[in-house]
Symmetry: C3
């Protein structure tokens, strides 16, 4: 679709060059057929060197835009990105079409495989599984019943995905108008699971806004875990049941997150960091340490804190104090 037509239909004024747009990308990765938005001054260097065909940005930032990119001037670039994002989605889960199943792979007759997908050697897709379009399932990977894998996902070799897991669902991303309406950001990115990844029952992993949500090699995720859009998990991480990651958070390698622990969005957790059960991460933290509690502290302090809290708030003791 042509940029000029999209912007005309959306009521956005534009006097830059016209071209066929293939979608949104990050400033860093975009090519001349893609568009970006610029909203956050910390990415200024990326704006200055972007190769995007056009960038949605505020008038005051026009001066930083490379001459090779056209400007789509906006009072609220994030909101306008959300509004335009709907032009780049395609119909999900088209399951008629050409598929490629290795003759040693087994696809249950009650599973559905989408158009253009590939099932590699020795993979086993069980009953009730729904695989979207353009998905690749690696060698010897097991997909248990009723798993759903959205379009464009890539699943490595020797993975095991327990029943009810959802991979590639839309992330929770909305821009908000002044009137309090929520404008959906259509997610056009995907999910990649590297080799030897295991995912527990009913866990959900959201696709990226654009780009990729990535689960590193040998990472093991338990049941009912939430992984937000654009998260990157390193090699050999462990995430225990009911833990969660908000969007765009990065784990290093061998990070351990205990049961019901969570991390906010856009954070970074260092290699070999361990988070005790129920701990809550609200700032980026360095690796090779054991953390606990909410507010988060070193786990050894949290253990002492627990003792102090029980002692300090002990009813009998305080009653005496109050009675003095």
């Amino acid at each position: 679709m042509n940029l000029v037509n999209i912007l005309k239909e959306s009521g956005v004024s534009y006097s830059g060059k016209d071209f066929v747009v293939f979608g949104f990308e990050t400033l860093k990765n975009a090519n001349k057929s893609q568009i970006c938005f610029f909203n956050d001054i910390t990415f200024l260097d990326q704006l200055k060197s972007t190769k995007a065909g056009a960038v949605i940005l505020k008038e005051e930032n026009l001066k930083f835009l490379p001459i090779t990119s056209s400007a789509i001037v906006s009072e609220n670039p994030y909101l306008d990105m959300a509004r335009l994002s709907k032009y780049f989605i395609k119909k999900p889960f088209c399951n008629s079409g050409k598929i490629k199943i290795h003759n040693s792979a087994v696809v249950d007759k009650n599973a559905v495989i989408g158009n253009g997908s590939t099932i590699e050697e020795g993979a086993y897709i069980m009953a009730g599984v729904v695989v979207g379009a353009n998905v690749r399932i690696g060698k010897n990977t097991l997909i248990y019943p009723n798993v759903v894998i959205y379009d464009d996902s890539i699943i490595g070799a020797n993975c095991s995905i327990q029943a009810g897991v959802i991979i590639g669902s839309d992330g929770y991303g909305y821009a908000h108008t002044k009137a309090g309406e929520h404008v959906k950001i259509h997610h056009t990115g995907n999910v990649i699971l590297e080799d030897d990844v295991e995912i527990g029952a009913n866990t959900t992993i959201d696709r990226a806004v654009f780009g990729t949500t990535c689960i590193g090699k040998n990472t093991k995720i338990d049941n009912l875990v939430q992984i937000g859009h654009n998260c990157k998990l390193g090699e050999s991480c462990l995430m225990v049941s009911q833990s969660g990651l908000a969007g765009s958070t990065t784990l290093g390698r061998n990070v351990v997150m205990g049961g019901q622990s969570a991390a906010g969005g856009h954070l970074s957790i260092g290699d070999y960091a361990q988070l005790a059960a129920r701990s809550g991460v609200t700032k980026s933290i360095e690796g090779k340490k054991i953390y606990g509690g909410f507010p988060l502290m070193l786990q050894k302090n949290w253990l002492k804190t627990q003792i102090k809290m029980i002692r300090y708030f002990d009813t009998k003791k305080n009653k005496i104090e109050e009675g003095e």
Copy 2:
């Protein structure tokens, strides 16, 4: 079924009038073909003006019953309501019968649509979806793979329901005998999603005991969220991943609930209230404020509290103090 027969079969003595009962309702909404229970003195006004055919109530409250309603006298009205509730259920998910699919709607051949259901213009029901009986799916709504929508649900227009979502499951409601047995309250209510609602992967929304669990227009719910029976969410609310609402809680409009936050049952949260991640609501709260923590406080206090807690419980500092 006739009331006299039901009560006879259940071993409940009754000398009131007989009529064909169509089920339970609230005191406020019941008509003369429905029955109610009265257990909580805060609803006394509703008892006095009820139009119900009969009411289960304690002997001491007989005097408040309108002359138009018959009395079913009980030592434990809630328990007897639970025991009788089984007479009003019908077989769920009858999926043979007459269905109505608009010719512009798409229903995947691997989806199942129940008896008497309607799929409106432009809706898209993907593979593995199971829709119960008497369901309505509104215009242009997308239902992703393996979603389950129970009988009698009403889904508005332009909704998007991600994979694995369960809408209309039985609420968690039991009456308890003195011996510690749990008697199931069969849920005969339904779920309504108004227009422009979006629901994230593997989220669960329970049907009402009787009446409706309602999600207001433009409300957006993330993955793995729990909405209990009879909750009412206003317009344009946001509920982030792994948050939860116990039964019969009401959110105003534009309420925001952060990740892993929760509210207890029978509470009311005012318009534009915001709950930080992990906050826990145990009392009704007013709108237009930002809350955090558990126990719940204003978020600005919770942020200061976190600093104080870390400082107060700081190990080194306290060691020195203890050593003095």
Copy 3:
């Protein structure tokens, strides 16, 4: 498969007797065709009296091994157990073969029943359900759409399993190498639900490593709850939405766990104990008490603690104190 061949293929040296191995078991329950591992001195009595054909153990513990059992000497028995566990798995969800459906039971034509399974009198298996091999579904039990029940599960009579529930998924069990790799422990145990059990939507119950994960008669579990491998829940327990149990934890009878509460692994919770919403159990606790908070305390103390915390950390008050 013969033990000598398995150990040869795995590169484990062995000079004991050869026999056909039928899998792993606990020291207590193993027979002469099964093998065990010994890693934890608290089970020494069980080692001394085991009837297992062979036991993986450290050299220093050889002296405790009964003469009837062969020794598989290992520096890391737990890791070697994990490595050998893969020899005892069979292909999951083989759904062709002989099944037995009582003529009063209803199996939806869109449900899949595995080889060797039995559906008893009056049971109703709805659309999209996938039942594995060698499963038994008891009398009058309702299985709602898109539930997955793994191989070897046993579901009692009069149970109700809401949509999207996963029963018998692999537990989250890994042994770890010094290099930080996670070696999967293949779970060969099963899940048993006794009679009158109800399970809420999208809840997950993991199969046992070996032996059984058991949910006691009349226990009622809400939506999105996690039950780890080898847990034992007594009769008439209640687990409210989003609560969780780590592996091998035992609940007595009539235990109540509130919303978002959790217990760590290998703990014991006594009969009639009640856990308030959000409480976190990290040590075994006795029954007939009401607990709350994290760190866990008696609920009455936790309620007082909440008041104290709000008061103590109250911003205005502390500002004055700091200003003095």
